[in-house]
């Protein structure tokens, strides 16, 4: 009998793996419509899984926080939260897709388009790529200038209609709509305009530099458009 239970569980496990994508979507839908708060506690019900590469969440003081924009620019900028709030604001509601497979549907973001920040600084000739740094002191990311100037790359200051939470990268993070989540660097503190792409943290560990959802990293997820 014990053996039958073990074999039965192996069978159920196999069925669960085969039907898992469908079941998992079902659970996400049910939780979203009945107890949306649950996803914050149990990401298996459709919420964000929180990834950090350092201990805890990096601290900052809203009064002294500055976003540095430098490198090949006409004017180096040091933007406070008030400065960012004074730039044209853009809202985007799109999915967030992680390269490990989870996806959070219809996340409302807002902030300043990266291209509006770059326009304010003025990109000098030769500035063909962007190097992003996080004040966690470790994480970095990259985009080509063309990717960064697209109208769906946000220097986000708000998420779900409220200031970005610590775990999501407060006070400022990137949201790169068409790419996997690792491109959307959290705790953004520096944007440097450079000549060539410098692969970011995960890209040095083997992930694709051009991380378009559905056509990179060997995955076939539905694109985020």
């Amino acid at each position: 009998m014990g053996r039958r239970i073990v074999l039965g569980m192996l069978g159920l496990g196999a069925v669960g793996v085969a039907a898992g994508r469908w079941l998992s979507d079902g659970v996400t839908e049910v939780v979203a419509s009945t107890a949306p708060g649950l996803a914050n506690v149990l990401p298996a019900t459709g919420g964000f899984r929180i990834y950090t590469v350092t201990s805890g969440y990096p601290e900052y003081d809203p009064a002294t926080y500055r976003l540095a924009v430098n490198g090949l620019v006409r004017d180096e900028l040091s933007l406070s939260l008030a400065d960012l709030a004074a730039l044209p604001q853009t809202g985007i509601t799109k999915d967030f897709q992680c390269v490990t497979g989870w996806r959070v549907a219809n996340v409302p973001w807002s902030g300043v388009l990266l291209r509006d920040v770059l326009t304010a600084a003025g990109v000098e000739p030769g500035g063909a790529a962007l190097h992003f740094t996080s004040f966690d002191g470790v994480y970095t990311e990259s985009l080509t200038m063309e990717q960064g100037m697209a109208p769906d790359v946000l220097v986000a200051t708000s998420m779900f209609g409220a200031p970005i939470q610590e775990k999501h990268g407060a006070p400022v993070r990137l949201y790169v709509v068409p790419m996997y989540g690792y491109k959307s660097l959290k705790w953004l503190s520096g944007i440097e305009v450079v000549r060539d792409v410098i692969p970011g943290y995960w890209e040095q560990l083997g992930y694709d530099v051009d991380a378009y959802v559905g056509t990179s990293n060997g995955r076939s997820d539905d694109p985020v458009v």
């Binding site: 192996l10 159920l12 496990g13 669960g16 793996v17 898992g20 950090t52 201990s55 610590e166 775990k167």
Partner: protein
């Protein structure tokens, strides 16, 4: 077998002890327990955003979870070398009609329904735990070698791994709770032997078998 026979006149001062678990079984139990504890802690850090945020270092936590996960079956496989472990596995595998009666009855602790070396709850726990470990190992392997599997299987494996681990943790907590309420049972797993009186009360058939008054039944 009777570990210590005493003269009847001494019985009151030196209670008879019955050998319940051998060295191999106790070591396997201890090793699996420690490995599972590490797996549960790292799982909680990987899985619950607000806990994981306190510790961070996701890569390191993940690496520990993976190494310990792949190490989990090793003590089980080594245990198969032990005759006592295999015998107990046989006993755990064997369900008898009285086991179902025992599970359904309200007075299952009264001793009315005979219980062998393991009661039906322990048998179910053992089977579920082994099944859960194997399924978690298999789905964890898919997640570890994820680049070799299509997206749908990766998502499916993650789904099964997530929810089965929640169920398994609940069962493990239940197991610890039952042990918490029975100091003699814990002593049995720690020292290997239990007093005859406890054995007669909790595992009457097994006690009779050990004392030589009944043939082995399960």
């Amino acid at each position: 077998m009777v570990a210590a026979m005493t003269l009847s006149s001494d019985a009151a001062v030196a209670p008879v002890q019955l050998q319940r678990f051998g060295t191999a079984e106790r070591w396997v139990h201890r090793t699996i327990g420690i490995l599972l504890l590490i797996l549960i802690i790292t799982a909680a850090l990987l899985f619950i955003p607000d806990l994981g945020g306190l510790v961070g270092n996701r890569q390191t936590v993940r690496r520990i979870h993976e190494i310990v996960g792949f190490a989990l079956p090793i003590p089980l496989l080594l245990a198969l070398l032990s005759r006592a472990f295999r015998d107990d596995a046989d006993r755990l595998n064997r369900f008898r009609p009285t086991d179902w009666q025992w599970l359904r009855s309200r007075d299952r602790r009264s001793g009315r329904i005979p219980v062998g070396k393991f009661n039906a709850g322990q048998k179910l726990n053992a089977a579920f735990s082994l099944g859960a470990i194997l399924v978690l190992l298999a789905t964890g392997t898919v997640m570890f070698f994820s680049s070799y599997f299509p997206d749908a299987l990766r998502t499916g494996a993650t789904f099964v791994h997530d929810w089965l681990s929640i169920a398994f943790i609940i069962v493990v907590v239940g197991h610890i709770y039952m042990a918490f309420n029975d100091a003699t049972a814990r002593l049995g797993m720690r020292s290997g032997s239990v007093p005859e009186s406890w054995a007669r009360r909790e595992h009457g058939e097994w006690a009779a078998e050990e004392l030589g008054t009944a043939a082995p039944n399960d």
